[in-house]
């Protein structure tokens, strides 16, 4: 069980975020929910790359006696996470600017009132 705790944290974060998106009414909170899901997925990716007792895959100033590749964590998940973080920033910026505009137009942030488009 103990070795699965990071994965459980991932699932918890994803579903906390999903809960916020599905049941919260404030648009900002929905945006926060999406950000939490994204953090959960990023945590998932970075968790997948960890190797027991590994160091960062950087050769500059490598601790003496480190054998590689056995004692280095995987570099690909870190690169994927980096990409994912930047994507998250971009999505967040766009969502927040839309929320700002929506607030100006609708005068509310309640998701139940922002539904001129229905049926």
């Amino acid at each position: 069980m103990i070795e699965y705790i990071p994965f459980i944290a991932v699932v918890a974060m994803v579903f906390i975020g999903l809960y916020a998106v599905m049941f919260r009414r404030n648009l900002i909170k929905i945006v926060i929910g999406i950000t939490i899901i994204e953090s959960g997925v990023n945590l998932f990716l970075i968790t997948l790359g960890y190797r027991e007792g590994g160091v960062a895959p950087i050769y500059t100033g490598l601790p003496p006696g480190t054998t590689y590749p056995e004692q280095m964590v995987l570099p690909v998940p870190q690169a994927l996470t980096l990409t994912s973080i930047v994507i998250g920033v971009a999505v967040l910026a766009l969502m927040l600017s839309l929320v700002m505009h929506i607030y100006r137009k609708y005068g509310t942030l309640d998701v139940r009132k922002i539904r001129r488009l229905k049926e």
Partner: protein, 111 residues
């Protein structure tokens, strides 16, 4: 090049056009047998509304929402359900996503 085979049938647009053309000719020929009693600009072409005056043209135009009134009224129950489904609430969009996810998880989990 023109014939589209589907394994169990075929479709050829040229034959179709030919048939439509022949049908059109036939129709036109039959139409020629009739008498030409239509005269423009007489009482014949005016709408008869039981003696009432004809409305302005913009009032005569049936609005798009009023077309198919009969169909939508007879399907009222269906439309009520569908309108209820399309709430326009962002959270509900995600809810439908999660519902489909759950249903498929159960189907694939059992099968």
């Amino acid at each position: 090049m023109f014939t589209l085979e589907s394994g169990s049938g075929f479709w050829n647009p040229l034959i179709w056009i030919l048939i439509v053309f022949i049908a059109f000719l036939l129709f036109y020929g039959i139409r020629g047998f009739g008498k030409n009693i239509h005269k423009k600009g007489t009482e014949q072409t005016k709408a008869f509304l039981s003696g009432n005056k004809e409305s302005a043209p913009e009032d005569m135009h049936v609005k798009a929402s009023n077309l198919y009134w009969g169909f939508t009224t007879s399907m009222k129950a269906l439309y009520a359900g569908l309108r209820k489904m399309h709430t326009g609430n962002t959270s509900d969009y995600i809810l439908w996503f999660v519902v489909v996810l759950a249903v498929l998880f159960i189907i694939f989990g059992v099968m």
